[in-house]
């Protein structure tokens, strides 16, 4: 397992260093332009998660998947190593970006807002969804998988907005969002913060596990 992680890090160290530094600079600048911590959390998580994912699409480019699968490892170990490395890289980059934003002047929100438990949980939940949905597709279909996912998401988004705008099927996004938010707030109030947050963490773990099993299901069926 460690050999697999080490291998991926060696193969992508230059890519990770160059783009990691670019991300830090760009996100640091963006931190001084955005007015709300939640917006910067969403953008940062998206950007930080993208880096390890793009790293795996490079395998397609060099057709190096054959090498991976001919080494004395199982496909389960390959998928597991990639989940671990993706999470570690995303989290490390996220912490570094938050550190840079906190240190740079011109920020429009308090540092405490960036590191509160709510914000951290929000970032983790977003990472869980993002990595959980994209990793299985990227491991199985490479860059094409990532693009397909993003295109489907775009189409879905545009379709939803159109349905909302023209009031087709009596769909009101704003009222749907209100209902969801109210439901979550009620649940929070009835369970209390510790139980609610623990439940959220458990849900994130379960989602990641489900994503891992799905990724394994897909990757085991990949022919090279």
């Amino acid at each position: 397992m460690l050999s697999l992680i080490r291998k991926d890090l060696i193969l992508s160290k230059r890519f990770l260093l160059i783009f990691g530094l670019l991300y830090l600079g760009y996100m640091g600048y963006l931190g001084s332009r955005v007015g709300h911590p939640r917006e910067i959390i969403v953008i940062t998580t998206l950007m930080c998660g993208l880096l390890p994912l793009i790293q795996y699409t490079r395998e397609d480019k060099f057709k190096a998947g054959v090498l991976n699968c001919s080494l004395p490892v199982t496909r389960r170990e390959i998928v597991l190593s990639r989940y671990i490395l993706s999470w570690v890289l995303t989290l490390v980059l996220y912490v570094l970006v938050m550190g840079v934003i906190a240190l740079l002047p011109g920020r429009k929100f308090a540092t405490s807002a960036m590191f509160s438990l709510n914000t951290v949980l929000f970032a983790l939940a977003f990472m869980t969804l993002y990595l959980g949905l994209l990793l299985p597709l990227i491991l199985r279909f490479g860059l094409a998988g990532m693009f397909a996912f993003l295109i489907v998401l775009q189409v879905f988004g545009v379709a939803t907005l159109l349905l909302d705008r023209y009031k087709v099927a009596h769909l009101r996004l704003s009222s749907l969002a209100v209902v969801v938010k109210k439901g979550l707030l009620d649940l929070h109030a009835s369970l209390g913060t510790p139980v609610y947050d623990s439940l959220l963490v458990v849900l994130m773990v379960l989602l990641t596990l489900a994503s891992f099993w799905f990724a394994m299901f897909l990757y085991k069926r990949k022919d090279f």
């Binding site: 050999s3 291998k7 060696i10 193969l11 490079r58 190096a64 001919s70 004395p72 490892v73």
Partner: protein, 288 residues
């Protein structure tokens, strides 16, 4: 003699091509050539053996171990040389080595360095700047440095010049000197195998035509050349493939002794080369 590889009733269906009940075994300490025209299923078999491609049926045992249930143990004893090296192109050879070596408990750094010297491969050189032949040599150096018991080579000589090819083949012969290592070598360049292989497995359209010792094959198979008057219906059925010309015919048979008895001095009976066998079976009129 123990078998390095035992393949039983292997099946894989791609729709337009299928492996249809492929079975053969390869004794330990030998070189086996897997021959056949392009698209015969050679690469598919090697890939299934390494679990790079899923199979639809059958069983593969490597040194007595199931290649799927004991995947890690099996792969740690295999050195694989792919027809197109599949490494990150922009990395130095020593960096690629650093990513591969930790996976093998028996990695021998001294052997790796010695092979790089013998193959004139500078460790700091970027892979993308190597010729195809040099890349093949590097793949071979990696495969040999973890003391693999079984070396799998998928079309290693295609696209190489004759000097490189002969050097590579000489290296392969040296590899099995200890009679423990085994080599499975897929190629459509049959002359490579006439120099080095002990056993030949011939594939055509996803089926095994024959799998036997090379000397036995070259002894048994023959090309008969004679006048068209000899090509009766009965004689035509005797051949596995026939090519007719304006003034005579050439036919391939799997029974050279019977051909000599049957035609006597009226026809010339020559030993068939592997290329002859491949040509007549894939292109000639087929009479089983």
């Amino acid at each position: 003699m123990n078998n390095a590889i035992e393949i039983t009733n292997l099946k894989k269906d791609y729709g337009d091509f299928s492996l249809d009940g492929v079975s053969f075994s390869m004794p330990q300490g030998t070189i086996m050539g897997l021959i056949g025209p392009n698209g015969a299923g050679k690469t598919t078999i090697i890939k299934i053996l390494l679990n790079l491609v899923r199979r639809d049926g059958g069983e593969i045992r490597v040194f007595g171990l199931d290649n799927l249930k004991d995947e890690t143990a099996v792969k740690s004893r295999i050195g694989f040389v792919h027809d197109t090296p599949c490494f990150y192109e922009r990395l130095a050879l020593k960096t690629i080595k650093a990513t591969v070596a930790p996976f093998y408990r028996d990695w021998d750094e001294d052997t790796f360095r010695r092979l790089l010297r013998e193959f004139d491969l500078p460790p700091n050189k970027i892979l993308a700047r190597l010729s195809r032949g040099m890349k093949m040599k590097f793949s071979l150096a990696l495969a040999l440095s973890h003391r693999a018991d079984l070396i799998l080579l998928d079309e290693p000589t295609s696209g190489l010049d004759p000097v490189f090819r002969r050097e590579l083949l000489g290296r392969l012969s040296a590899v099995i000197q200890d009679e423990k290592r085994s080599v499975l070598f897929s190629t459509h360049i049959t002359s490579d195998l006439e120099r080095t292989a002990d056993f030949i497995t011939f594939l055509h359209e996803g089926r095994v035509v024959f799998s036997a010792a090379k000397d036995e094959i070259l002894e048994r198979w023959a090309v008969v050349k004679g006048g068209l008057e000899l090509l009766t219906e009965d004689n035509r059925r005797f051949f596995r493939g026939v090519r007719e010309r304006a003034f005579g015919f050439e036919g391939l048979t799997a029974d050279a002794a019977e051909a000599r008895r049957r035609f006597g001095p009226a026809a010339v009976v020559d030993k068939a080369s592997l290329e002859d066998i491949m040509y007549y079976i894939t292109r000639g009129d087929h009479h089983a």
